[in-house]
Structure formats: C-alpha cells, structure tokens
C-alpha cells in the first residue's frame, strides 16, 4: 500500500472511532435513535387511530394491531392513485407501493433528520482540531489531502452507523407494534432505506466537513453549515417553483447543485435511476469538500 493510501486508511479509521466516542456525536446519535423510535411510534399511533376509525365506520372487527387494515389499503387502486398524485409521476408509484409502510415511514423520517444529524456532528470535527491545534500532530506526519479525505470518509462511515442504529430502533418498534412488519421484506427494506439515506447524506457530509475546514471556531462552523443546509433547501425549492423556459432554465442548472434534486431518484428500484443519483450525490459531496479544502490547503497552522 502506498504512503497516501496508508495514511488515508489510518486517518479514516481513527476519525471514525474518535468521532464515535466524542460526547457530541454520542449525544446526537442517541437523540437521533430516540427520534427514530419515537417518530415511528407516533406514526404507528396515528395509523392505528385511522384504522380504528375506519373499522368502526365500516362496522368491521377492530384490528388487533396497527398495519392490518393499512396493508390492504396500501395495495388498493384508489391509494395508488392518491400516491401518484402526491409524488407527481406514475413511474415512482410502483416502487413506493412495493415498499412496506413502516419502511416508508422510517425513510421519510431519515431523509428529513439525517442532514441535521450530519451537520451537527461533522461540522465541528476539523474546526475543533484547528482551534485546539491538535491537527498539528497529524499534519506534521501526513499530507493535508490524506488527512482531509480521511476525516471526510470517517464521517461518512459514522453516518452509516447512525442510520443503521436508527433503522434498527425503528424496526424493533415496528415489529412490536405493527402486524405487517414480519418477514425479511421489512428488514431488507429498512437496510435499503438506510443505504438510500446514507447516499443522500453524503452531500451533507461534504458540506459540513468542507465548512469545518474553513473555520477555526466549532460553533461558527456549525452555524454556517446549518445556514448552508438551509440555503440548499431554499435554492431547491426556488428551482421547483421558478423552473421554466428561456432564462428560467438556469434554475435547472442551479438544481444540480442541491442534493434534493436526487432525493426521489434514490427511491426508485431501477439501478438506471439510483446509480446516477449515487454518483451525483458523491460528486456533490466531493465538490463541497473540495471548496473547503481549497481554503484549508493554503492555511497556516
């Protein structure tokens, strides 16, 4: 193994373990898992309430557990049309309908919370070391590029663990509370959803780590990364709203700079859709990181 790859591997492994046991990461991970469990539980409560009312209106026997009625509803044509209207295109509906309800609930939650989790954990990792000067111990022994990439990869791995733990928590709740959660389909669906969310989160890891390379103050780095995350959402929303012909086609280009552009692509089963999304999100992550690295590489430590 050449020197660069060896250093990259060593920094990645160390960053992963060090971040995993940092107090901040631990608190955020626990909060994330708790949120996954509580939100899944709340979603199941709502589902059960709707099913109870539905059963009572139709004068059916009250369902023993949540999910019994909704599994049937899920497969109905009327529900299919409703989802198609919400998503805006028919082709995605089959992929979504084919997904167990609990997996969709977890996926919705994970896509919403993960960018926040990533920004809270990753945005401080480099800036903390710049502020305390501890980066100097490693950087007198390896190149800045290997160190930066290692930091990024370590965070990427950490987010993967967070998603798996959160997914596991959601699955446990679903297994206990929902009738339709038995079988390998659900656990496989959870794993695939965790993977989709992880790919979606890659861009945010790049954003947070890139910002962290530019600022010595961890608090400021978190604030700027949060603003960046918000800005990406706003730009994405504006793109949706104002995209059109002529000069307004520029919004289409701007959309390519936001991770949201690829969110729905990740839900498709067809590899022809999600592989380009994976490549796009990875490229976005590296682009955000590179912008931060460009500042960092010339910085005096």
């Amino acid at each position: 193994m050449n020197g660069f790859l060896r250093a990259l591997t060593v920094v990645t492994g160390h960053e992963f373990l060090d971040a995993l046991r940092s107090r901040r990461a631990l608190v955020v991970l626990i909060l994330y898992t708790a949120m996954a469990v509580l939100t899944t539980n709340s979603a199941i409560n709502v589902l059960q309430k709707v099913e109870d009312e539905l059963s009572s209106a139709l004068q059916l026997d009250e369902p023993a557990a949540a999910g019994t009625v909704s599994s049937s509803i899920w497969k109905s044509e009327r529900f299919r049309r409703m989802v198609a209207r919400a998503v805006g295109e028919d082709s995605l509906v089959n992929d979504l309908i084919g997904t167990p309800p609990i997996v969709l609930i977890y996926g919705g939650l994970a896509f919403f919370y993960t960018p926040l989790l990533v920004v809270l954990i990753a945005s401080t990792r480099v800036s903390e070391e710049l502020a305390s000067g501890s980066a100097r111990y490693a950087l007198q022994r390896t190149s800045r590029l290997a160190w930066s990439l290692g930091k990024w990869l370590g965070q990427v791995a950490l987010v993967g663990v967070a998603l798996l733990v959160g997914g596991l928590g959601a699955w446990v709740v679903a297994t206990v509370r929902m009738a339709a959660t038995d079988g390998a389909a659900v656990i496989a669906g959870m794993l695939v959803t965790a993977l989709r969310t992880w790919v979606f989160a890659l861009a945010y890891v790049g954003l947070a780590t890139g910002v962290s390379h530019c600022l010595r103050s961890p608090g400021r780095a978190t604030a700027v990364a949060m603003l960046g995350m918000l800005a990406l959402s706003v730009v994405s929303w504006m793109c949706e709203l104002w995209y059109g012909s002529g000069i307004r086609e520029l919004w289409h280009l701007a959309r390519w700079l936001t991770p949201q552009h690829q969110r729905l692509q990740l839900w498709r089963a067809d590899p022809g859709s999600w592989i380009p999304a994976l490549i796009h999100l990875t490229a976005l992550s590296v682009t955000y990181l590179s912008a931060g690295y460009a500042v960092f590489r010339r910085r005096d430590l």
Partner: protein
C-alpha cells in the same frame, strides 16, 4: 560539522506583522540547540515552517536535502507545537499509536512504541484515560512523547518543560541530554538556565532575525573567562594574583563579591589559571562559594538584546 537543519533567509509576513525577516541559521547534526528570543521574536513561526505547517513567503528551511515534506519525510522531523492541545476525547496510548501508524509504523510496532513512550513519561497507568481527564502537565508529557515516536532525526521542541512539575523537569532534562549525538534537537525556551544546562549550541533571534548564534561555550566565553563567588568579608589578594598571572585581567565586584578573571585560553591553559587563583585565595583565607566558567547565558543574551534594541529601530512592515 554536518548541518542537520538550516533556516535560509526565511521571511514570513502575517498581514501587518513581519514574523520572520530573513531568518538564517544552521543547526549541527546531533547537537542540542537552544532557540532564544523575546515574545514575538519568531521562534514558533520558525518551527511551524520547518515542520511544514506554515508556508514561508520567501526563503526555505532545509532538512533531508530540501524542504521538509510531512508526507515524504513522515516521522523524520517531529515538532512539539506551542499552545496545542490533545484531542479532548483521545486516549494517550491510542493517540500515540495513531501518530505512529501515520508515520509508517506497523500497528504492532506503533502500539509498542506508544507503551515505551508512556513508560518514559511516567504515564503508563493513564494510558487509556481520556485526555480531558488528564492534568496540564500530564498532557504536556504526552505531547513531548509524540515527538520521540519511531526514530526521528530532528526534534523541534517549543517550550518543552513549561508546565511540568520539578521532578518531571529534571527527568525530562536528563532524557533530552541522553539524546545528544543520537538526534538533532532544537529547543525554544525562555528559561535560559534550562538552555544552558541542556544545549551545546544557541541561537538568539529578535524580530524575526538571527542576532547571534554559535556554540554556547564560545558565546559565554567559557574557554577564557572564570568567575568566582566569594564569601566572608576579606578582599581577594588582587595584587598577588596580578603578579602571579600577568596575562590575566582581573575584575572585582565588591557589592556582588564576585571575582572575574579573563584570559586567552590559547596561550594560557585554563587548569593552570584555575589552580593559581584557587591557591592564592585559599592562602589568603578567602572563602570560595562557587566557581563557574564563562558568563551566564542570561547575561550574554541580555547584553546582545540590549545592544540590538539600542542599535536598531523597531521593524514592522
């Protein structure tokens, strides 16, 4: 003597502050060199540039045949940076092993090195404690330990002994002295007594420039100057001494009770001068409290710094 590391006309400008203004000096291989200067003289910047952490605007620091490259020369030059902390959640053994692996040691060797160094700095019992739970002195010892991972050829230590308790200072001083001849060590310190005890070379820098450098013995005049601290109330027999040693210049400070003798060591062997002076003082029953060769480094430094400040106006760009 072979040069291990050399700063060559290094310039570094931080906005309006010129931290280094053409700094040039060389450190002989295998020596322990002291870097002395007032606050803001440029010592820390000089070290940061040498370790590849800061880029010079002009000039270069040469080691291993060119500018030090952390990736290419990993572990050959190490630095104890000033004002740097350990990562809060790191564990000493793991952290040292991580740095060891970064500089190319195998996992097993890195772990062994970490254990060896923790034993050296008397922290084996805290090997797995989070850094945030260690005292300042303990953390400092780990920071010193990381400099000696593997086989570094050049070690740069910025204020290595500040913050250590007296026992650890003595232990560390002894350890550093043992490194003489095995590796080149450059120590930046405000403690001139420490520099005097440890170093064989010294460099004075002020306002980013070298104002004086050379072997300590040469700078302090250790070869041709002897100072005696006398007790009692009797005056030393100056007339007898001048008659006995006509080639020696004597000076007597009654208030400090210090007798100074200056001579040319190339013509007059120091042993002969010492022997004659001591015999005369003992014959005259003047109590001798101490004898030292050369001036104190502090006096040399202060003399140099005073001359410098009175000769040149402040330089800020």
């Amino acid at each position: 003597m072979k040069t291990a590391i050399a700063w060559r006309r290094v310039v570094k400008q931080y906005r309006r502050l010129r931290a280094l203004d053409g700094l040039s000096f060389e450190v002989p291989s295998g020596s322990i060199c002291g870097l002395v200067g007032s606050n803001g003289a440029g010592k820390t910047t000089a070290f940061a540039i040498a370790a590849g952490l800061t880029r010079p605007d002009e000039g270069a620091v040469e080691a291993f045949g060119g500018a030090f490259d952390p990736a290419r020369d990993s572990g050959r030059l190490t630095l104890l940076p000033q004002d740097s902390e350990l990562p809060r959640d790191s564990r000493p053994r793991e952290f040292l092993a991580f740095l060891g692996r970064l500089q190319g040691l195998s996992p097993r060797t890195a772990a062994r090195e970490a254990d060896r160094l923790l034993e050296l700095v008397h922290l084996s019992d805290r090997a797995r404690a989070p850094a945030r739970t260690l005292s300042h002195g303990m953390r400092k010892r780990i920071m010193i330990a990381q400099c000696f991972l593997g086989m570094p050829e050049i070690v740069l230590l910025d204020e290595p002994l500040s913050g250590l308790d007296p026992r650890e200072v003595a232990h560390m001083r002894e350890f550093l002295a043992r490194q003489r001849g095995r590796r080149t060590i450059v120590i930046s310190s405000h403690n001139l007594h420490e520099i005097e005890l440890l170093c064989d070379h010294v460099v004075f820098i002020e306002r980013g420039r070298t104002v004086r450098s050379g072997p300590i013995d040469e700078l302090t005049g250790a070869q041709d100057l002897v100072q005696l601290q006398l007790g009692g109330r009797e005056e030393p027999p100056l007339d007898a001494l001048r008659a006995l040693l006509p080639a020696v210049t004597f000076a007597w400070s009654a208030s400090e009770r210090r007798l100074t003798a200056r001579y040319d060591a190339r013509r007059l062997p120091p042993e002969q001068v010492h022997d004659a002076i001591l015999r005369s003082l003992l014959d005259a029953r003047v109590p001798i409290l101490g004898l030292s060769q050369g001036e104190r480094l502090e006096a040399v430094y202060l003399g140099t710094a005073d001359r410098r400040s009175s000769a040149s106006p402040p330089s800020s760009a």
